[in-house]
Amino acid sequence: MWKWFHQLASPPHFYRIAPVFSTWLLLPGLALIAYGAYAGLFLAPADYQQGDAFRIIYVHVPAAYLSMMAYMIMAVAGGIGLIWRMKLAHSVAASAAPLGAWFTFLALATGSIWGRPMWGTWWEWADPRMMSELILLFFYFGYMALRSAIDDTAKADKASAVLALVGVVNVIIVHYSVQWWSSLHQGRTIMAEGGPAMDPAMLRPLLAMIFGFTLVFGSLLLRRTRTEVLHRERRTRWVRDLILAPEGNS
């Protein structure tokens, strides 16, 4: 097991097998999304309060979930890279950040569009979830800015890993402080907190969407990391052999 892990982490091996894994994740992921989108849009019954507008949940919740999962991956990978000096982990962290920022943006955009018919405004300052997502987006920007400001890759990896780990503690505190703040100002949320059990016909597409998005995200992350590995290892022997080998196409 440990040996297998070690082999996986070696850049040439990872570069070779990443596309295979990526395809295995992508195809079922797309199938799940296709089912979830169809069932969510046409088969699930309309919500008794929000009507058909509630169907936005099928893209909003997966995006919000991925925005946080990408952050956790970024921080954990940074920590692994910092403690065990594993180069592949830093490549994963560097690749997770822009993807996470995209999904955070998507969660904010869909939340805002959902808010327009529900709240009557594009942006409700007192909604704690939207505020947490916005601060998360700022944090992604800071992380990426720090990375790009340091020219030395090894140094950028370690500095941004420290920032990501500090940020994990911060994200939790932001969550609770924003909730407290919103309770002072009568915050309004679109989604009921936990709420009564969802109709299975509504819940099934949602779970399919969340699972499908996670798989597609994994596929994107693997391929982004693969390119990052290739770029970082551009001066090594195995890359040279790969390029000069006749069948070594991209």
Partner: protein, 53 residues
């Protein structure tokens, strides 16, 4: 088709789903473009270093 009308919420619902599709496509496309450009850069440099072929 009444399903497409989304009970009057069609602009909101379809914009959200369209935006999601767009974000997925942009990310997929960016990954491909970046991989090609990184690969080409390395190829050009290594072929120049080898000086032949």
């Amino acid at each position: 088709m009444e399903g497409v009308a989304m009970g009057g919420y069609a602009p909101y619902v379809w914009t959200c789903f369209g935006l999601t599709l767009l974000v997925l496509i942009i990310n997929e496309w960016r990954i491909r473009v970046r991989h090609t450009s990184v690969y080409r850069d390395i190829e050009v440099r290594i072929k120049a270093l080898e000086g032949h072929e």
